[in-house]
Amino acid sequence: MSVAAAPTVRRSLRIVATGVRRQPRWFAAAVAGSTVYGVMTALTAWAIGKVTREQVTPAVEAGHATSGQLLATAGWVGGVVLVNLVAVVVRRIAAGYTMYDVAAAYRRDVTRQYLRLPLAWHHRHPSGQLLSNANADVEATWNVFAPLPMALGVVVMLVAGIVQMVVVDPVLALIGLGVFPALFLANAAFQRAMSPRATRAQQLRADVSEVAHESVEAALVVKAMGRESEETERFATVSHRLRDANIAVGRTRGTFDPVIEAIPTLGTLAVLAVGTTRVAGGDLAPAQVVQIAYLISVLAFPVRALGWVLGELPRTVVGWERVDAVLRAQGEMRHGEERLDGSGPSHAVLRDAHYSYDITTEEGEEARSRVVHGVTIDVPAGSTTALVGPTGSGKSTLANLVVRLVDPERGDATIDGVDLRRAARGEVPGTATLVPQQTFLFDDTVRGNVALGAPLPDREVWEALAVAQADSFVRQLEHGLETRVGERGASLSGGQRQRIALARAVARRPRLLVLDDATSAVDPTVEQAILAGLRQSSAGTTVLVVAYRMATITLADQVVFIEHGRVVDHGTHAELLGRCAGYERLVTAYAREAAERAAVAGDEELAR
């Protein structure tokens, strides 16, 4: 085997070994079946040589065949064929189990990582790529299990075949010994030429998938802006690159396939020529020449399974590299041992918190962009605190810090005095609940989306829906609580999705409820009703609310005004109105606007 291909082969063998450890029994069964198959295939030529010599030739020479001769012929060849068949069935089914079981195991592992890794990691990886890692890349890695057992059987077959040749005639065996290494070499050269092209095609398949994903998700905007042609152009560009890469793969295959096919054919022809010469020299019987010729032709096809395995190996390596990158990704949120087992409303504090996002510049460099600068916020137990600030001032990041969706870079976040980094797994979500700005619903029923798997009685689900002002529209749905909402709640409107998400939070009876502008898609009267409902039902809850609306803000015991990732001021609404100009400008914007308009209208009327 060529030296250049060796690293890939060695690497991929290690990867294969990793896979085998996940499913050793099925793999062993497949290899066992394949071993029997290898021996039996080589024995087919031997059986045919045997019956030709012992039964057929005498019968032909005698000018008539006895039933004993025919029975022996059928028995020997038929027996070998049947055993071989059973072995092949075992090999293939067991190989299927190995391949799909290992792939399923890795899909579970990869998706576990998706659930385990922090949000910052998710933000750095396009979702199309992550889907492709869990699907196509896992498949590419373990597809090798389809031809691998057969290839191992072929090795056995070759050993059996070569032994047979040596026993029959060492000179003809030399031809066999030339043919098989030549096949190996051709295959190795093929793999070496193929590997970079296959890698490129695989990468481009992922690119095509990424563009398709983004564009389909953007479908509404694309349509509303009439950009179908531009998007198609963008997709066509990557599709054409993939096409060219696939054609390059085809050209490589087209170059090597005929060569690999010609080698055993030429070998067989050489056996005939040399064999006849040996027969003329009296060293060999004619039937033995035919036996070896037959052997090479029988073995030539399965030998290609070695080529298939070698062909899969580059894909295995590339697929594995991508899968392994996910599996090895670090940055999992660590959890401590402490419990948040208080009862009643929680006391949440952010102390001198800093936070930056990882960004990638146009030049592809990693950089960090700081969005929160030394923020301290104290949310007393049982209070309602409003977080107010202009768009892009860092409020959502603060909300995420409070419920530990992200950890501060510096400073800390605590609930009831416990540093959230030291809280045990599940403690924070069990205590504090965030309703994010961007609603996410699961492709599940309304009940499933509200209860999220908790065994809540109907009554509690309905109560939560009522608080979120979602009960009446849910009642009108065809199957009520059991209505499936579709992928990401596609069958509901934005406002309806928000209310289901709100009900989901209420149903958990959190001790700290963080609302990140969670009613933006709901109209004012409904929002008022929701706020009233929350006040009644959340007597035991501390509330932190990101809000713009005065009604929400004035419900708050305390207002924290944020600008450019810093706390500008905090106090009651009245205090801030009196002393903080920025705050005043922000919250009274609508009222001032209305007053100005009224004044202008008044002037116009006076002027008439």
């Binding site: 008539h64 659930l115 398709a212 802006m225 696939n246 022809l269 020529a273 006849t276 599940d444 933006s520």
Partner: protein
Amino acid sequence: MSTAIGPAAHLGTVATLRRGFRLSPEIRRGLGVTLVLAAVTTVGRIVVPLAVQQTTDRGLLAPGGPDVGVVWRTVALASAVVVVTGTCAYAVNVRLFRASESGLATLRIKAFRHIHDLSVLTQSTERRGSMVSRVTSDVDTISQFVQSGGIALVLSLGQIAVATALMLVYSPALTAVVWLCFLPLLVVVRQFQKAVGRAYTSVRERVGDMLAAISEAVVGASTIRAYGVEERTAARIDAAVEAHRKAAIGAQVRSVLAFSSGQLVAGLTLVVVLVVGTVLAAGGHLSLGELLAFLFLVNLFTQPVQQATEILNELQNAVAGWRRVIGVIDTPADVADPGEAGTDLPRGPIEVEFDRVSFAYPGGPTVLHDVSLTIAPRSRVAIVGETGSGKSTLARLLTRLMDPTSGVVRLDGADLRRVRFSSLRERVVLVPQEGFLFDATLLENVRFGRPSASEAEVRLALTELGLEGWVDALPRGLRTEVGQRGESLSAGERQLVALARAYLADPDLLVLDEATSAVDPSTEVRLQRALDGLTRGRTSIAIAHRLSTAEAADEVLVVDDGRVVERGPHRDLVGQGGVYAALHASWSAQQRGG
């Protein structure tokens, strides 16, 4: 009216292939030459049996001892044939690859384009992941089939034909025996193929389910963490992964059984040929060389038959994928571009007219009842109403994202269904609540509104909207990467980008569907003023639940339960004490904090 995307399940295998070929004309281009070359290639495959027969009968068993000269000449000739046919094989490979990959790229792009041409309603009948798989993994399946099986299939069929021809020359009787052994197989294989085909269709469906489940873990990452439902999500993914594993193994077992039936027949044929051949040879009807050649030929015959069985199984898999792609393309775009036959809207302010328009979602209740209204050119109209009252439906009908169930929407007197999309999308722009951002820079995202705009024009647009301060505060200004789906920005910031994008597009009719719902009040007021100035002389329609927008509008339309119940300027409506007055009272109370 709206159609769900189907798998085109009604198409049989042959019909699917024929339709697939028609959609990808490149596949058929030059196919004749390729097939001739393939025929030459297959001749190379009978070289060995022919050489064996010649060697045995005229060389090894030549009267008067082995004739070495004849054998060496035969072998030399045969080797030359191998070289020639090998060259043909190369040409066949390259030609087929080029044709099929070009054809599949065309198919992929057509399907992709068609997804965008489908109406919003049709798009929403299928999960995004599943729709994406129709232009990605489904096409990849076909491509992989062509790469691994398609060429082999062509060569296999040729090989069967050539092997049969040579067998007939040697012994018609023994050829008949071989074929008789195989005929039952063809029947059995067909049955198996159907079962295998169904199994692979099911595998593809399970792949779609699995992708959808996995995408929840990716797209819903923050919700899953906020609610600590990692385990529940994991359980849902596991169920989908397991269903896929089971389906895949089921398909594998069926395909193995189908393959084994071929293998069994191949083995039995070999036995029968040996036995019958021995009898024939003993009777002097066949030379020993011919009998031996037959053993090679049976191999040449059974190997491609088995291979073809297997390839046909793979073909089923590819056909299932092909069917799904064709399913997209064959789904009628029910909100279709009239194209050449349509009319263009002249530039200038647009008048909007709803003429007895009703709308119902397919199988759902009517959400708009017989709405008739006219919006004068140059007017700024606000549409208000409770959630679910039908406001957004109005916006979607107005921009022809959907067509009314009955009645007509007209722009400048032209039936919207007759207006060319190129004209419509240039003149009328909708800004939805969640304006999707692409994983690119801020500059590129704004430029999406008008791809020809220069950077200076983009900057000017942002300045005119009063957003230059915000842009400059971003880490890299206009060059800031917004992340996938714009996730590096807040929801409010994403709305600013979407608005700037629409502004840059410079439409004559601007429709804002809660386009500033996540923006802070002072920014919103600033934007509102900027837009007021800029939309002067154009028609603008804003759907909003913040009534500040309504206060500023020339006219307010109040929608309730699918009907326009009130309309008029803000001041008049407040005085009327109706639905609007109540909404407004509640809104002002909120602003005062009451």
